[in-house]
Symmetry: C2
Subunit: 400 residues, 2 copies
Amino acid sequence: MTWLDLAEHTAFGLDNLPYGVFSRPGDTRRRAGVAVGDQVLDLSAATEDTALAPLFGAGVLNPFLAAGRPVWREVRARVREWLTGKQHADRIAPHLVARDEVTTHLPIEVADYVDFYSSEQHALNAGRILLGAEGELAPNWKRLPVGYHGRAGTVVVSGTPVTRPSGQRKPRGAAEPSFGPSRLLDIEAEVGFVVGTPSTVGTPVPVDDFAEHVFGMCLVNDWSARDIQGWESQPLGPFLGKSFATSMSAWIVPLEALEHARVAPPVQDPEPFDYLRGREPWGIDLALEIRLNGHLVSSPPFATQYWTGAQQLAHLTVNGASLRTGDLYASGTVTGPEREQRGSLLELSWGGREPFDLPGGETRKFLLDGDEVVISGTAPGPDGTRVGFGDVRGRVLPAI
Amino acid sequence: MTWLDLAEHTAFGLDNLPYGVFSRPGDTRRRAGVAVGDQVLDLSAATEDTALAPLFGAGVLNPFLAAGRPVWREVRARVREWLTGKQHADRIAPHLVARDEVTTHLPIEVADYVDFYSSEQHALNAGRILLGAEGELAPNWKRLPVGYHGRAGTVVVSGTPVTRPSGQRKPRGAAEPSFGPSRLLDIEAEVGFVVGTPSTVGTPVPVDDFAEHVFGMCLVNDWSARDIQGWESQPLGPFLGKSFATSMSAWIVPLEALEHARVAPPVQDPEPFDYLRGREPWGIDLALEIRLNGHLVSSPPFATQYWTGAQQLAHLTVNGASLRTGDLYASGTVTGPEREQRGSLLELSWGGREPFDLPGGETRKFLLDGDEVVISGTAPGPDGTRVGFGDVRGRVLPAI
């Protein structure tokens, strides 16, 4: 099917073809690329003297994303053609680089970043951990996809180290808050949606227009400082407990690669309002894995998310708020019904009350300095293949 | 003092010189400008063949803002020289345009937008309106400047109409939420701070470095849909109740114009943490006025704000979050101790329970379609003069 030397069961085959931004060794120029097998196709170089050149010359994917769905389809078709047609091999082969030799960069200029809260199990767990057995879903939770804006300027690419934040926190039982490094540093395994086509302010985006606006998906680690968050968040929500860093994958999987991953979301009850009801179901079957220092600690299933990416987009814009190219929104922590499916250390350690085991005799509640977290994921592809998402990794550095 | 024909008591004299972006009649090009008297100095044209040209050629002020405090000082000194030295008149006069003939545009590309909540009276009023007589300041309020991220992409320039948002809301007493146009559309008179010099992620900005990073100030109307906000905001804070629109002045007053407006903020008790304590007080005496359809309804005094802009900046970055050129942060609703000093209709009408009067027999609780709100303000300048802020105005359009 391809003249490339692709491993048989690669999750980065011709049915995937995620986009990213990279630089070659010894060259700081940022280039658009497509990951294929264990290589990267330098799209900036491959399109250099063609009509597609302006889309891939910016050092970020935004011009390509802004061009809209017909162009995304056309480019995808061309790239597949280049990688399948033997007649292209001579021209294209020099534009392939080994993936482990490149440096990846933040693939998009992030416009606005929104974080949702759309896993029912996560919301239940968080409520119970914080409020005890009475903790239950807030009355609005099954009516609207609860969300908030995060800090676009501190979204970083996978591989960027994360410095333990300092701030005010007030431990349970303390009379007064104190200032210092966060002691409850956590992760949140989430799925990100990247907007390409903008929308007009004042005009909500219909839920069925999801695929016209959203270019693709990635993984997100919504690093969280639970103690800082707990002290600051009444009444206006999370702020510094989140804004120190948010990591995204280097590779964005186009929606077109996820046709075989589409599933119905869980039954929604009560029935959502009209603007949240679409003709097509946009649940996505995406199997996440969280590794802490190389050890698999959890396998959150994204298919269990209550609110879909399409519903989140419709909700985000229903008040007339506009979308911009490069908007990123994340699903909220992905947590399934089982213990080994929890998407945060808050839940895995049940608020620190039930430290979980790591191989070698260690236990963990929250992150320690030096810990490295890797969130990875694959979705079903055609014919029993898997479509791999670029993982999102980060190591914790000590507080300054 | 100047060869210009300036009105004697102009609030846009040589001690002000705010920056903005405008276009001339019949010409779509966006130019950097300085407002002086009833004119605008076309800075893009005046610097065209000079070393300053790259700072003012972008259609937004960001390159100038990114250049840092020494450059802001130098440009200010040069502009003052051009407007005072008779020898410059022939060259500069052709670059002056009547202010009422130009179209102003969003003066900055907004990077991240943060909203604070730093008026004690406003927070008390809001608490009492929502929770009754027991409503009091949350335990964290006097420990840290409470804030949250808003939507940068829907910050619009003064003059932009605002469409009444639709969304889910659940009126008091209703069993279920319903969907429709907001019935409780409101304003919030706030003061904005515009960041020029960026900072490095992981490195908090010291409170005493405020004037190195913040270029200047403006006015902000944080339009709010109280019913949408009320239903959505537990537990993650305001979202769609805010993100449909936020308006900012067309003119940004440089900090250097506000030397005579510096005051000590109110006494802070308990004593703030070290990172919030600076050597210099950054309270600002700025007298705001809110007009509804031309009628003065309130005169909020900014000097009463509990947390200063410098403390807000230090808090925003204390967890290592970085600043970018074009970051905008707003003070929170400015409300003083008196009834005629309240910065929102929520407070002016006490949650709709005490409609307030407008001349001509009308009363108001919240905004009606067609209402126009203008927030203006002046600060003390040298020798009894006033420094005028560009007002921020908007008219409410009916829900689509």
